[in-house]
Symmetry: C2
Subunit: 79 residues, 2 copies
């Protein structure tokens, strides 16, 4: 079983990495870019058999380690 | 128009960030994790009107700036 976790900064939280990338793209004449936000994608192989159990476990991992829930949100997809 | 770009290390390329995360999860008793790989997710707002044109432009951005194609692959989704 595989979990795909996206961790991204909450709306309103400044994203310096995204800003820098936007700026770099601008200076390379990619003028149609309006906004850039950069997050993490974590891909995890799991030995769980049960989808719901896997989801709950991954959610716990996100809360405890993978995301800083003060400034970050996350989405979990189990495939 | 929005572009969702995932940049991840090619298979076989060592992922120290993923390894460290795996190790940390292990020590927190998440024993069902078999492998962790960490990549970047870039979310971009574009003023393009044409989907195909947007895709081509984002592809160029990936090749020139966003991904290190020696060690990284990427996927592009235009929504």
């Amino acid at each position: 079983m595989k979990a795909i976790i996206n961790v991204y900064l909450k709306n309103g939280v400044l994203d310096p990495q995204g800003k820098a990338t936007h700026h770099a793209l601008d200076s390379m004449n990619f003028s149609k870019v309006e906004d850039v936000r950069i997050g993490k994608q974590i891909i995890m192989k799991l030995s769980n058999r049960d989808k719901e159990e896997a989801y709950k476990e991954v959610e716990k991992m996100c809360e405890e380690l993978l995301a800083n829930t003060v400034i970050e949100d996350y989405t979990i997809e189990i495939v």
